[in-house]
Amino acid sequence: QQPVQSPQAVILREGEDAVINCSSSKALYSVHWYRQKHGEAPVFLMILLKGGEQKGHDKISASFNEKKQQSSLYLTASQLSYSGTYFCGTEMGFGNEKLTFGTGTRLTIIP
């Protein structure tokens, strides 16, 4: 089942902060976050595993609430380069490594 992301779109001024949320109705093994710029392939940002491990870029932070099956991506002091569509991808269990991607959140940063 497709995870739900919120908000669907957000506009920020450079330097402002944003939080993007991803919710699933099923138990998750991991949550992945990707950013996609128009006409380009998605780029890996962060992965959070059940149990607390995570891996990602230094300037990106995220959380994973296993009880609620929710993840949040935190973008602080946003830069123009942060613009794009953010997708979460959820993985149900070890052994089936496919990702089910969320509906996407379009982020626009204005100077």
Binding site: A41, P42, I47, K55, G95, N96, E97, L99, T100, F101
Partner: protein, 118 residues
């Protein structure tokens, strides 16, 4: 090293024709994934390979779609008797795979093939 590559980058075909899309994963990546992305939409899972086997084909929309992988490397997605609804960007991704020991298993995407069915 090189990233994931896909060919062709663009394909225009007529309704009813067959098309083949190719994906070359990152060398050493045992897992390979195909996704479809319609204009302005999210990524839709199609099929996933672990080595040359496909443990999950659940996302293939119809029996017109098939995929294979050989030599634990190149994969081909074939769409037979294309329909206008097949128009989309087809994205391939690869990862080391957890069975190969990668606990995080982040996926790396290719640039995609934009398919237009007239």
């Amino acid at each position: 090293g090189a990233g994931v590559s896909q060919s062709p980058s663009n394909k225009v075909t007529e309704k009813g024709k067959d098309v083949e899309l190719r994906c070359d994963p990152i060398s050493g990546h045992t897992a390979l994934y195909w996704y479809r992305q319609r204009l302005g939409q999210g990524l839709e899972f199609l099929i996933y390979f672990q080595g040359n086997s496909a443990p999950d084909k659940s996302g293939l929309p119809s029996d017109r779609f098939s995929a294979e992988r050989t030599g634990e490397s190149v994969s081909t997605l074939t769409i037979q008797r294309t329909q206008q609804e097949d128009s989309a960007v087809y994205l391939c991704a690869s990862s080391l795979g957890r069975l190969a020991g990668s606990s995080y298993n982040e996926q790396f995407f290719g640039p995609g093939t934009r398919l237009t069915v007239l």
